[in-house]
């Protein structure tokens, strides 16, 4: 059972890491819009747009 003396501190280190990661994500605005990204993947389309005369920026 002595292995948990190693595993639990490791778990705590992981916890600290995830808390830090979560703080970073919130502060960088990752959670500000939770609605649109879910739909974006459905909308993004492989159909090529019909050839248009206007020059597009790559």
């Amino acid at each position: 059972m002595s292995v948990i003396y190693l595993l639990i501190p490791l778990g705590i280190a992981l916890l600290a890491l995830s808390v830090w990661g979560f703080f970073w994500a919130v502060r960088s605005g990752q959670f500000d819009d939770l609605d649109s990204p879910a739909v974006q993947i459905l909308l993004d389309d492989d159909r090529a747009p019909p050839p248009a005369p206007d020059a597009r920026d790559a």
């Binding site: 703080f23 919130v26 649109s36 739909v39 459905l42 993004d44 747009p49």
Partner: protein
Amino acid sequence: MDAVVCATHCFHCGSPLPPAGGFTVLLDGIARPVCCKGCEAAATLILAQGLGRYYEFRELPALKASGASHDWSAFDREAALRRYTHARVDGAREVSLQLEGLHCAACAWLIENSLARTAGVTRIHVNPGTARAELRYDPRRLALSQLLSAIHALGFTPLPLSFTGGIAAGTAERRAALTRLGVAGLGMMQVTTYAVSLYAGLMQGIRPELEQFLRFVSLLVATPVVLYAAQPFFISAWQSLRVRRPGMDVPVALSIGAAYLWSVVSTLRGHGAVYYDSVVMFTFFLLLGRYVEMSLRHRAGLRHDALARLLPDSALRVSGEQLERVTPEELSAGERVRVLPGERVPADGRIDSGSTEVDESLLSGESAAQARRCGDALIAGTLNLSGVVEMIVTQVGQDSTLAAVSRLLERAQASRPRSADLADRVAAWFVTGMLLLAAGVALYWLHADASRAFPTVLAVLVVTCPCALSLATPAALAAGTARLARAGILVTRGRALERLAGADRVLLDKTGTLTRGEPRLESVTVLDARWTQADCLAVAAALERHSAHPLARAFAQQRAAPGIRAVQSVPGQGLEGLIGDTRYRIGRLEYVLEGCTDTPCPPLDSTHTSVALGDSTALLAVFHLADALRSDARETLERLASLRLTSEILSGDRAAPVAAAARALGNIAARAGLSAAEKLARVEQLHAEHHRVVMVGDGVNDAPVLAAADVSVAIASGTDLAKVSADLVLLGEGLGGLVTAVETSRRLLRVIRQNLIWAVLYNLTAVPLAACGWVAPWMAVLGMSGSSLLVVLNAMRVRERRPASPAVPPRSLSAPITA
């Protein structure tokens, strides 16, 4: 059936197709009908960019595209750039836009994808929840005006928001709540795992040093949860104790604090029970409930936030021949201000020269551009879209319409319905009572079985926390107000919603409420055989262009005869002016006849208002004007009837037009020729018969009657807002909001009632169980947090959108149509 619906409604905006249409767009090889040139242009642009999937995934039809190309070049001036954009060190600029017409994620996707292909746009994010777009662009390759017109071409109206620097207060609050929730959640996962090991150890036996290790680890993880995540509860409990009105956070703070300290002491002493699992679970679930409630509140507040940022930071004051840039605060009533296209109107005023189109969507919810001519009112904060106008300032600062709307919104957010106040008062007594009860339970158990005293008291404290009771009403109310605000309905007194739900009579004023309040030309009687109707109208229109009288609006649509000069106005009588060498007069019959040499006998029509036109010899024509009913009036009254609300017209107008209106609206009861006192008497009579009365008026002229009714609803037409004293204000054109308001208020009341019943039942059953010592602290935590979460989630149901009026069902659009 779908094909029929689609063929009668515009593919792009969903409005009914005009009979003589002929505009179509081609999608998947099938011609889809659209209603106008504007929608055709917008839809063609969207399809040409390969973004046609927008039509499959959007939740609501788009706004009707105006088609007119606005001149946005005013936004390229240095002052505008400084105000609306933020220059980054790498030369790029950032701008925030409020987008009108943005309903759903599909709209956001459309804008993002279309603009991402525009040269010069380096970064774009559109948030459909807040209808805001954040853009970064390269000013050397793209002007701000090009950016704005690109969005406008897609059928959305962009409103640049002034750059405030940093993030909004609401965002900061939400982020802080989210990090607290995250810490509590992650902490909870760890601590409950340790707790499971400890419980298993209790049953199966565990080595003492291992048990002690697990307890110390739990202490380590629970400490940041208590000190950081649970901080708001301690602060708010302390604040409520300082004003001697113990709120729902007192038992929360007490249970968290006591359970944590007890556990710390047990851990350090090496024996005794620990409650780290209960502490972190309690914190997490409470934070979760508060977080959901806060997001409801924020949605209600977004509109207010947008309003507050509408005023421009400078205005162009005209003094004599000189122009000078001043701040809106420096303006005072009576001064002359020039408003350029693309600028926001700095103060309320009246146009003195020029004509333009303005966007009032943020104030009224009305998205179409409004034409404004000489003599019309301009409202501070609205966006001048097309022409250069000069206006005379009438109201500034706190007197302006914008300030009035903001104040109304603030009042609405500050005022809470009776049941919320009641719940708070009850909660204060309840908390005091429960603290005493907990003390009693503690005393009893200390004598009976001292070892079980602490867990039992802890369970009582946790279980009785009146969070559900206190959250029941405010959460539902925030959801309801947000929903109504989105539909263009301002709730100025929260209490009104409760009364509206129980109302059974609707009294409506006629002029300005059931009707548009502006006259329309019904018929023309030409009295001189040498004149055609069109000629008469042209002369009349030319003269009336110079009048600010409300009746003059009836001629605004007509083509005006050219070359009018020397126009003079006689207040209360009419106007005269010269075209060529002929002197024409328009106005009251007596006034026009005064100027003629002949005096024929004019035909008069008692149901209409008449305006006469004459030249220096004879009367030429009589115009009959009538005030048209609002297009949605009949439908609104029918839907009110289906909601068991009986409508009745109370009008001060003459009997004939009132009876005509009542007939046109489906033979509803009507009383004509009433004075304000008689209207008041009718309201009191209905009260005596135990009816609950909703009075709908324009909010200014019938203020005493509105005040007497159980619920007053005003139809605001912009400038009058500052004087409106109603419970509910319909900001948009039309009466349709009334039905939405009644439906929402009924749903709201139902949800509040369910919430309160649940909260009371829960407390009544859980408290005796806990006091008897049958509930372990962790069970109490689950029961109590579950009940608050249930209440908040139930409140969210108020926000649900019922399918709106006969809009096009979006999915059906992919069905083939043969037009």
